[in-house]
Point group: D2
Chain length 339, copies 4
């Protein structure tokens, strides 16, 4: 059975996922595409033999759409996800689930009312082989309880439109999600401090930033976010536990010795670094949808949690760096909680 | 357009490729399966909604088969590949192309007569990211001309049926193919010597073996083949050139520090080590077939060359380790040669 | 000319340095040894043909002692160093220079009054090849200005007598000194937070601890101190700068592949890890003394600074983790300052 | 007790060892220096307060010389070593022990006649920490019996005077000695083959060369000797055994990430790469001499063996690459043999 996917949002990331659904992942077809730019929607749809309904609501309601992929502008996510849930259709929403905690909660509530999980949020790191092996090591208990996690998230450069708050909202949010999952623990406070700034940034931007998080069980996380590091796209993660530590590997790269140096290439682009993770993410999502099962990836609750924690980090940044308690609702039973 | 593939040979490797064509690679379907064991063929075919014609010839002749995959027992390869070429259908043949140089040449001649390439041989390393990066580095000329290649091919263990000649025929053959491609050069002599044997082998087996190859331009290759190395499946390759060297990376693996050691896992299985290469191999083959293009992977000529070089290595092993000249025919124009 | 060294304190570290001065470093002899345990002093002295004067003061005053090495119990350091300065003799004092900032200042003042540097403090990391190379890279300017330093200082285990304050006083003090030197910058605030504690500690101990430091130029340092990490003695340091980063190497260690793992040994002991640094430290100190030059290693001022910063860290730990401003006097001209 | 060393040969290597004996190693003094250039001898001697006798014989006979260091031109080694043995004085001879097997044997016979070992030959790799750890791993038996050793010995460049035979005599001789010791096995045959030559060499030189050795127990060694590799001084050694392998580490070096690359420095000079090994070599030699013990380093027999094996390698090179049997006498009891 082929899962017929309708895609809302035909920009860069939308087109990349359409390529993935049509060329990389088996068992899927893209049958409908919408975009705020109708011309673009029509062009992109034509390439894959899909139709271009006038609105997201039309797409969601189409009998030729089994599942919905939301890759539109962030502020429109909640509306489309809610509509998909209302229609009882599985929906994959690129991060963020919604731009406000309130909207995230509305989705959570709608899903609870529906009674089973329909929503998956696009945090792809949970599908990366390195993180998965790290989780296996931690979960095995061989190293005892995790105590500390050291992380770095570095981009070579960002455009002028990238704001200081986006360091948490767009960048650190990936670590926020993957660490909650990796540690099977909840983040209860956030703090953001700003070291000396790099000269290689636009003036308005605080870069680098260092974020500190604490979990319910007392694990402390430090995360360097440095989005103009120049040398490459570099993701580091090391979990220190009672009997040892486990570290995310650098991507395999041929070693070259020449001119007095032994060197390996550092990735330059997040799309390359996590290409396999994106593929796996969609492969597993399509498989779950095809099986009529609940999705196994990040839930609406995870999307809510990420937003709430991100909000706390931004508040810390905006108010001079205090520790900000994360104000999270009790976790509903649908998501493994007791509420 | 979906490429409809007929699969001849439904054993372990055949089934793995069927899974790949149906679950991993887009744009392909398996429409027919045959096997010497008709019951097995029927069962495997049923799982993917394919038919199970009585013979390979029937499968090749079927109008529902666009392309043929040969994964049957090695001695039957030539017959099926020749039939596919006769039918003018693209055919992917697992290594070896044929078990004798004569049969390989028959296929080469048939393909020449046909006038364009139809055959691809299943040497998957050319599709491995590490080897591809190494080839880019070498081809860029930044390191000057390659002079020496050091290789190791180690398996944790082999079953009793694995013979001393299989070290060349089944194991080293992967390096033979990938090095010819990597260096864009031809192997002109082979030699096999036997160090002290490991205690961890069946008595009849010479293990480890060391193979030396020389290319037309004078590059020398040493290849350790050690198929009972116990510790894992380990593939090493280092090309030394005039201005430096380039080395195949070990697969990325989380680092763990515990109990006084920093450690990473060594793969245990060739299917894991080259899983991505297999996927890419089939993805590119299906894309070429779908486009009506000649395949870009190893050709019938490469299959012939591998067999002739392997034969020379086995002759060296069987006669006490002399240098044996590779007796290769001139390369036809169809394969980039002048004959 | 042989430098005749008198050693005050014949305990484990004293004996190790006596071995170093007599067996490893050329140009030195140990001519006198004292200890609070006179019998031990006599025995240790006898082994190297030295005398055992009754008191440190006698030793310092002896015409057969050119330079003094203080390796006695920390609270006695100040008295002996002051006596050596009063006698105008070069003195090497194991860390800490003194156990209170006031005593450190008294030494600084005495040295200023003397008019030239006589004191070197035993922070050996400045003599480690890895840190020296890192300093070269930073100082070259090739990476731009340093912005962040990530450090870890892990010991496999500590005895019951090790207190929570010692994490700063005895352990982190090494990073405090080496980072001031590495960055050529002053630490202006300290903060200590406590993650979830390891089960592998004595109950009274807060372990691990994380320390945050900020420098005058805004560089932020995070330092994990984990003294019951179990797996080994592990020192990590990574300096992130505007154009890239530089990382301290792990000690070279043979790689072993067996039983599915590639592994290297992690050092178990600080004396092994920094054995070469200790040797170099004493070699350079003896060379400076022999040349009649001022010592080039950590100064009395550095000893004072380390104590003041350590005090701030302990105050943070003791008061629940606030950021504590380092209350440091202006740096005198003798130590490169303007006071 | 200070060991008073007389040094025969005040060239570059002689002066470096004089520095080592006077500045690095404790318990030694250089009391006499000779050289074929009497002026140079006088100058070098003056620097360390030594005398400059007219001849090596005078130096050896001097009552102020306890032990002799021979660092003169290779062809003069035998004469001086024989004179030292005749005088019953410990003698450290830089490699080679002698330039012909016959002269080496004369020294062996003289030492046998003397009845105890006096001679140590200057193969410093046995004193390198990496090789020592590798030997510990092999000797522990944890990896089973060694079967194969892969080596590379690369220099960035060599001067015009370096001949093709020197690849064995001056370069590979280090591996020949250290592998005999590492494996506790004897080399019984040698073969040298020549790959395509690098453009970066003087025309008369065959570079690179590949040498194959076989030991009495059947271990096979391949050694790449590449003395114009350009990128650095690089020593590789990997021993493959029945249950796993052990590999010499690269020297520790700070890692730098910048401009898209992660890189570490490759040493450029053998004196840097093996500086610690040279120091340890002399430290242990002086300790043995001071204790009146036989030296523990490479013996006269090892010097003879290295020369005989080197001769076989050169013969192979000169005669087109055949396997040449090493023609070694039976090992005398003085050196652990039965003759």
């Amino acid at each position: 059975m082929t899962v017929r996917v309708g895609v809302i949002g035909a920009g860069m990331i939308g087109q990349d996922h359409i390529r993935r659904l049509t060329e990389v992942v088996t068992g899927a077809a893209v049958t409908a595409v919408t975009d705020i730019d109708q011309t673009r929607a029509t062009q992109v749809a034509a390439r894959v033999g899909a139709v271009a309904p006038p609105t997201g609501a039309d797409l969601i309601g189409s009998p030729d759409v089994d599942a919905v992929l939301v890759t539109s502008w962030g502020p429109t996510h909640a509306e489309h996800v809610l509509a998909a849930v209302a229609a009882g259709k599985p929906v994959f929403c690129e991060k963020p689930l919604a731009t406000t905690a309130e909207d995230c909660l509305r989705i959570v509530e709608a899903e609870r009312a529906h009674g089973r999980r329909l929503v998956q949020v696009g945090f792809m790191r949970r599908f990366d082989t390195g993180y998965r092996r790290m989780k296996e090591v931690i979960s095995s208990g061989a190293l005892g309880a995790p105590l500390i996690v050291h992380c770095a998230h570095r981009n070579p450069t960002v455009p002028d439109g990238y704001t200081s708050a986006m360091a948490a909202q767009d960048t650190a949010v990936h670590e926020i999600d993957v660490l909650r999952w990796l540690l099977d623990d909840e983040i209860v406070s956030a703090q953001v401090v700003t070291p000396r700034a790099t000269r290689n940034r636009f003036d308005h931007l605080k870069d680098p930033q260092i974020m500190y998080f604490e979990t319910a069980s007392g694990i402390r996380i430090d995360l360097e976010v440095f989005v103009n590091c120049r040398y490459g796209y570099d993701i580091q993660c090391e979990t220190v536990a009672e009997e040892g530590l486990v570290r995310l590997p650098d991507p395999a790269s041929v070693g070259v010795r020449t001119a007095g140096r032994h060197g390996t290439a550092v990735p330059q682009d997040w799309k390359d670094r996590f290409a396999d993770a994106f593929d796996t993410e969609f492969r597993e999502w399509i498989a779950a949808v095809a099986a009529g099962a609940e999705p196994t990836g990040p839930s609406a609750w995870d999307g809510y949690a990420a937003t709430v924690i991100t909000d706390a980090a931004v508040r810390s940044l905006d108010t001079g760096g205090p520790v900000v308690t994360v104000d999270m609702k009790p976790r509903p039973a649908l998501y493994g909680g007791t509420a």
